[in-house]
Symmetry: C2
């Protein structure tokens, strides 16, 4: 039975780019591929395209299912589909796996055509502005000059923000959700502990673990466990797990004692089985380096001065990884730069993860805003 609010069965596509790209790190990649998916139909004047930018562990499979029997749909299926806030009856929605990813786009685990072996440690670091560049080339390939909206949460929100600075003419709306204008020292510190866990895992082999037929599972598991704590709120964790014991009694050992330990270890195990450690490292570095105001004397309003987009900024009250204060910094800079900006601070106990979850006030705001975006498209 088909679900009328789902985009249904989808197929991933591969875009091949034979033009070299000069990355911010100084390295040039001679060629690369990007995996992407699209939902909905591009209208005649190509004005209804939406780009969805993913966060640390995301990818191009944003909505729908590959097969009827798939247990899980794409990662933002609750937001995107016929009649959903990002309505595929009206918009042509594109999701992609960023350069450096591990879901089919060219990344550290891809085969380097020059050597016939995985890039591993030879894969360059990729910055948010590099992603914007590759996304623009994908848009060119699809014949899209201007996006109706670029939308992202967390690291994805940073890409949406960067789009409005690099390509002001190509973005009509930017939706920057649960994001920040740059990381704090504490954010960087958590990222560095996660990286050190991977980098010092004896199975990492300097990034070339593929050749050793192993993966730095321990390090990646720890990185994910730690990350997961920062995605949830203290209160949310308290409500869900509290001090609940696995067996009802203290057993006085280092085995799982509290349910929260079981949950975290499970999340870590699952993630370390499916995600590439080099991609994880690369994504955390992209987060650390993001600081669009840096070349404008630290003044974000000046960095945004040429932006033409209208903005929707959304934060969640219990998000302490990218707290509402950080979204308000973006809003203040936009106001200082005299841009159109709407801001919503959503009451939520779900911490940073709230941006991925179905929540009526959040989805209502997204829906209302996207209705405005759609009205402009048809006008």
């Amino acid at each position: 039975m088909t679900n009328p609010s789902s985009v249904g069965i989808v197929t991933a596509q591969k875009a091949v780019f034979d033009q070299p790209i000069a990355l911010s790190s100084g390295v040039t990649l001679p060629r690369y591929e990007l995996m992407y998916e699209t939902y909905g139909t591009l209208n005649e004047n190509r004005s209804n395209a939406i780009l969805i930018c993913h966060a640390l562990s995301g990818h191009h499979h944003v909505a729908g299912r590959y097969e009827e029997t798939d247990k899980n749909p794409g990662w933002w299926d609750n937001m995107i589909g016929p009649g959903k806030p990002i309505d595929t009856n009206r918009f042509f929605v594109i999701g992609l796996n960023n350069l450096g990813g591990c879901h089919g786009s060219t990344g550290p685990s891809s085969i380097d055509p020059e050597t016939g072996t995985p890039y591993g440690s030879r894969f360059p670091l990729v910055l948010v502005r590099d992603w914007v560049e590759t996304q623009a080339r994908l848009a060119d390939m699809l014949g899209i000059h201007q996006f109706a909206a670029v939308i992202g949460g967390s690291l994805g929100g940073m890409q949406a923000l960067r789009w409005t600075i690099t390509y002001p003419q190509r973005v009509r709306h930017a939706l920057v959700i649960a994001s920040a204008p740059k990381l704090t020292a504490q954010n960087i510190a958590f990222n560095d502990v996660a990286r050190q866990a991977i980098l010092t895992d004896p199975d990492f082999h300097g990034g070339d673990f593929y050749a050793h037929n192993t993966v730095p599972r321990r390090g990646l598991r720890l990185a994910r466990m730690l990350g997961h704590i920062t995605y949830l709120s203290d209160d949310g964790m308290g409500e869900k797990f509290g001090r609940l014991l696995r067996s009802g009694e203290y057993r006085y050992s280092y085995e799982v004692e509290f349910e929260i330990e079981s949950y975290l270890r499970y999340q870590g195990d699952k993630f370390s089985d499916m995600f590439d450690a080099n991609t994880y490292l690369l994504m955390t570095k992209a987060l650390d380096y993001f600081d669009p105001a840096r070349h404008y004397g630290g003044n974000l309003a000046v960095a945004l001065k040429d932006a033409l987009a209208k903005f929707l900024v959304i934060s969640f009250t219990s998000d302490w990884r990218f707290a509402p204060e950080r979204s308000r910094e973006i809003v203040k800079a936009l106001l200082d730069a005299r841009k159109h900006v709407s801001y919503a601070e959503i009451e939520s106990a779900h911490g940073h993860d709230a941006f991925l979850m179905e929540d009526a006030p959040y989805h209502n705001i997204m829906r209302a805003y996207m209705n405005r975006v759609a009205a402009e498209v048809s006008a």
Copy 2:
């Protein structure tokens, strides 16, 4: 030149206990030793003794120096000494290294007399109430029936609180600083990531790394880096490090890029050179298990109903590891149980670490309270 506000040169002492102790975990230790130090003079009626309980990585060297040339004094030297808030001209102050520690008291790295090798994985878990029991035996040995005050910060505050429940007659005042009545799910989660870092380090060898002539340095380093983030506040880290770069420019590598990374890695390296991994594990488990209300239907006021001590509870505004809310839970329970309690919430940017730092409002409150304690002693 001697510093008139220092306790001066001190010497650690060893107390040997040949009576077995039955621990909460069900294991009995046939004998054990505790390292301790004392400052000041026990008065004739033995009524001026103060017990200082240490936190996760603390020990018996609380004040003074072992040699004139020692770079660093004991860990709470700013609080304890002649004329200091805990005034050694008036009090006889005892610091000890808890059972399970790695600073000379019997712990996992000690030689098990039965085997002639370090206990390692054979060393039992030790709970807060076990520490209180061993501390009471140390008091017996020193001829102290009742403490003028039991004082501790963080995990040390939990011991002070436990003292008032287990031995109501033996504590006149309990000073519970930057502590909590029990850990939250988030606290436990951070501890578990730290433990998993150690437990999954290939050099851990199930806790018996001593026999392999190695230490799980990587795991302990990660645990300390992570711990350190939770001891500092987001704002404090921001003020001290912000996004300061090591070399002034992005270098696009996994080497130290931001100063905060350099600081954290240094802290991790230093700690992993000097601390025992099994002790670290044991201390985090004592934190997790602490929950004095557990045997009283979860009602801390009922747990405290027989306490005879007067209480001073102190918290610090930017402490998110043991937030002021957690101290207020203790205060509320004490009020519900109709106990004498004073409470101070100190404005500070230093996070959990604030309890160890010199700060005028904090030290003034400690001094004023300890003056009251001293007045009772001389009365």
